[in-house]
């Protein structure tokens, strides 16, 4: 179809043209009504599409004109407007005869459809029926004018708005311009600053570049000048090639490094694959590795010890430093040997010292005395094995503890501490030798004789005390025993001496009495004769003596004298060795005989019945017979049994055998001695009495009962007659045990 487009805007014309060309329509476009009419008169068109608002002749006018033209009125007239879009406009358009009123924007398809439809309809209608007559008349004109005015008014308003808007915009624009110029000014300042900065930066950068260049130069120089052979290798596939080296490297090979430049490892070290591995490892780790090896310098043929340090330098370099440590290694060897030797010597010396120390410790420990070192604060610094033994504590338990508070009995602690203080102050004179008891772990007390010394430093300042102490407990006990024995011995001698002294006057008394009795006897002729010569008879003399009881008194005197003599005889009898006879006796039997004697003995003064005492026998089997004076030994046994019985009955019964009175008799062999024990469960003997119990005339019995000689005599029988020993053990409240030891044979000691 041929289509005429009428629009004053080129852009609209083009647009429509484009739309319609799509549908293969022929299109002619004009800018106003007048031109449109021209075109219409010139050629045939199928459809007219027109805008409304156009200069000169507007769309409405055109439509009227077209529709008034007889030839043209059949052509479908389509309005296409953007501006006259209101309902009144459409109404006017249609009243003017338009076929269609379209508002922009138009959909091209829609437009095409409308056009097709209109064309079709037109064809169908035919020329006769043609389109409705346009309205003429004033109404239409009025409407037209109305619309025009309306539009104009609208336009004016629009224009006014626009003007106002434009003014506003201009104002704003002015403002903006002002602002802009401000901003521009600012910006300009900023720009100036930035510019300045940039210039500064550029200057800096130039400077940096210069410095870098300088630095590079220096580095290069350094690299060259490093006294350590340095080689720079660049990664080249799996291998590396030498790209640089320094003077130090060159000098090693006497200036021949040049030949290796640009070569790869494989080329330089064909038979040493481990080298390239090292490179690659360094590269892989991106770090530093060090390898030590013996190395043959290729060019010079020397064998040296080298440490190679590989350093990764990004992006693809490995820098190698080598250090010739041949001398160092040798020196190290020498040093090691010297060191080893030194170590050996030190070990030897240490061993010697340890030995000496051990020896010293041994000496300390085999010493039979205890050795104690005390610090000024009274704590123990050192003690030897003997010391530990004596005290009953371990080394660890003793060291560090206060010596006096722990190991010296309380009652003398103060005095001993004082002595220590004096010693530490330097008073050696009086305190070089000192005795004090110590407390053992199990609560015993041992007497120690100390020899004290002071440990001083080089300047003579006193540091500690060093004391060696002997355990003299036993010795002291033995001394006491000896003193006791001596005392007893001297007392015995005294007693014997006294007895001897008594014997003489006693002899005088008894003999005198004998003579008296003899010379008043009627049996003597001499008496008769002398009596007659005196003018009396011997009978008369006797009669007088009898009536005056003189005979009785004489006899009484004799009896008293006899008794005294018996006592002395008793005491002295055991010392007459010449009268003794020794026979081999069964001790057990002897004991039993004595028990029988005790049971049968009838003592007027007795306050006990021996038969009520339980006798326990613990006789050793196979005990050899002992050479002894049986009578005397029996005397001893009897004496002990009687003492035991008296003790039991005089006090509360002891606890040993359920409080029943009991005497235990034991015999046993100890080396070449026979040991006899007589134990009772009586009240026991207190220590102060026990010490004196063998003393002659010492008795605990009341006056008149006993002579106090029994134990003394027994003691002498055992010790002097038989060369044995006699001892007593007792715990007050727990009973008493007398112990007699007799040698098996006499004459052997």
């Amino acid at each position: 179809m041929k289509i005429l487009i009428v629009d004053d805007q080129k852009v609209n014309r083009d647009l429509l043209e484009a739309y319609l060309a799509e549908f293969n329509h022929q299109v002619v476009s004009v800018a106003n009504g007048k031109e449109a009419l021209d075109q219409l008169r010139g050629q045939r068109f199928d459809i007219i599409i027109s805008d409304i608002l156009m200069p000169g002749m507007d769309g409405f006018q055109l439509c009227r004109s077209v529709k008034k033209d007889i030839n043209l009125k059949v052509i479908p007239f389509v309005f296409c407007t953007a501006t006259y879009g209101e309902r009144e406009d459409e109404e006017l358009a249609l009243r003017l005869g338009a076929d269609k009123f379209l508002r922009k924007p138009i959909d091209p398809d829609e437009l095409n459809e409308i056009i097709d439809r209109l064309a079709r309809e037109n064809e169908e209608r035919g020329i006769e029926l043609s389109v409705k007559e346009p309205e003429n008349g004033k109404e239409v004109f009025k409407l037209y004018n109305e619309r025009l005015i309306h539009k104009l008014e609208e336009k004016v308003v629009e224009l006014e708005k626009e003007v106002a808007e434009r003014q506003r915009v201009e104002d704003e624009l002015k403002k903006y311009r002002e602002k802009l110029s401000e901003m521009v000014e600012e910006s300009t300042v900023e720009f100036k600053q930035i510019n300045h900065r940039l210039e500064h930066e550029i200057a800096e950068r130039r400077e940096t570049e210069r410095a870098l260049r300088e630095s590079e130069e220096k580095m290069r120089a350094q690299y060259k000048g490093i006294p350590i052979p340095t080689y720079t290798w660049q990664k080249n596939g799996d291998d590396f090639k030498l790209i640089n080296y320094n003077d130090a490297a060159d000098s090693i090979v006497n200036g021949n490094m040049q030949t290796f430049l640009g070569k790869s490892i494989a080329e330089i070290y064909p038979d040493r694959p481990e080298i390239v591995n090292e490179f690659n490892e360094c590269f892989a780790q991106k770090g530093i590795i060090q390898v030590e090896r013996p190395y043959h310098y290729i060019s010079t043929g020397d064998l040296r010890h080298i440490i190679s340090t590989y350093a990764f330098v990004p992006p693809n370099l490995v820098v190698v430093h080598t250090q010739d440590i041949t001398e160092r290694k040798q020196a190290a060897e020498v040093l090691k040997r010297a060191h080893d030797q030194l170590e050996t010597e030190v070990a030897e010396r240490t061993r010697q010292l340890t030995e000496e120390k051990e020896k010293a410790q041994q000496y300390l420990d085999i010493a039979g005395v205890m050795i104690v070192v005390l610090n000024p604060d009274q704590t123990a610094a050192l003690i030897n094995k003997k010391g530990c033994e004596i005290l009953g504590y371990t080394y660890k338990e003793i060291i560090g503890k206060n010596w006096f508070d722990n190991y010296v009995p309380e009652n003398i602690r103060g005095a001993v501490k004082e002595a220590f203080n004096q010693l530490m102050a330097g008073d050696m004179e009086h305190l070089e030798y000192y005795e004090n008891p110590v407390l053992t772990r199990d609560g015993n007390v041992k007497l120690i004789a100390w020899h004290n010394a002071l440990i001083k430093d080089k300047k003579g300042k006193i540091l500690r005390t060093l004391s060696s102490g002997s355990d003299i407990t036993e010795r002291k006990k033995a001394e006491e025993i000896i003193i006791q024995a001596e005392k007893m011995s001297s007392m015995g001698s005294l007693a014997a001496g006294m007895a001897h002294e008594i014997n003489n006057p006693l002899a005088g008394i008894l003999q005198s009495i004998h003579v008296i009795q003899g010379r008043i006897s009627i049996d003597s002729p001499t008496n008769r004769k002398i009596a007659r010569e005196c003018g009396t008879t011997i009978e008369a003399v006797n009669a007088y003596l009898d009536r005056r009881n003189i005979s009785k008194f004489i006899e009484g005197s004799r009896e008293a004298g006899e008794r005294a003599a018996a006592i002395v005889e008793n005491m002295l009898s055991f010392s007459r060795k010449s009268e003794s006879t020794f026979t081999l006796s069964d001790i057990g039997q002897l004991l039993d005989k004595t028990v029988a004697l005790a049971e049968n003995e009838y003592d007027l003064k007795k306050k006990f019945d021996f038969r009520q005492i339980t006798i326990k026998r613990e006789y050793a089997r196979g005990l050899p017979n002992v050479a002894c004076e049986t009578t005397k030994i029996q005397q001893v046994f009897l004496n002990l049994l009687k003492n035991a019985a008296q003790a039991i009955y005089q006090a509360e019964p002891g606890p040993k055998t359920g409080n029943k009175p009991c005497i235990i008799l034991r015999t046993m062999q100890k080396e070449n001695m026979v040991c006899i024990e007589i134990e009772d469960n009586g009240p026991g003997i207190k220590d102060n009495i026990r010490r004196r119990i063998f003393e002659p005339f010492f008795t605990t019995k009341s006056v008149g009962t006993g002579t106090g000689l029994g134990l003394a005599v027994s003691y002498f029988i055992v010790t002097e007659n038989h060369g044995g020993s006699m001892d007593v053990r007792s715990t007050p409240g727990r009973g008493t045990t007398f112990i007699i030891r007799l040698p098996l044979e006499q004459g052997k000691k």
Partner: protein, 128 residues
């Protein structure tokens, strides 16, 4: 009374002993000479024939052993009895050589006088 009484010398430093010994011995019918010390005793021996000497070991001037030896030189046939209060006295070898033994020791105080008489008689009767 014997015609030939046994002649006894008693040497003792205690008078009471001398007196009482004299008394017994006389009552037994023996002849008694007494000396308070060794010298006196030796003096008597030089003048008188004595059968038996009863000598106390403890004398003021000599000890008994020495006296006996001297006495023996004066009268070799003299018999000796030693009368002593000492409990530990035993015959020294020089006296054993003279035929004196343990049996000849009389311990003071003598209580069995009849025995003493027997001893004196026996001893004195042992004439060589």
């Amino acid at each position: 009374m014997n015609d030939n009484p046994i002649r006894v010398l008693v040497v003792d430093d205690e008078e009471v002993v001398l007196d009482t010994m004299t008394a017994f011995i006389e009552d037994w019918g023996f002849r008694v000479f007494t000396a308070l010390d060794g010298d006196t005793g030796l003096g008597i021996l030089k003048k008188e024939q004595v059968d038996i000497a009863i000598v106390d070991i403890r004398l003021s001037d000599y000890d008994g052993n020495t006296f006996i030896q001297k006495a023996h030189r004066i009268q070799p046939g003299l018999k000796f009895l030693i009368h002593t209060g000492s409990t530990s006295y035993s015959i020294p070898p020089e006296l054993t050589a003279l035929g004196i033994d343990e049996q000849d020791i009389l311990r003071k105080p003598i209580r069995d006088f009849s025995a003493l008489q027997e001893v004196i008689r026996r001893k004195a009767g042992e004439r060589e």
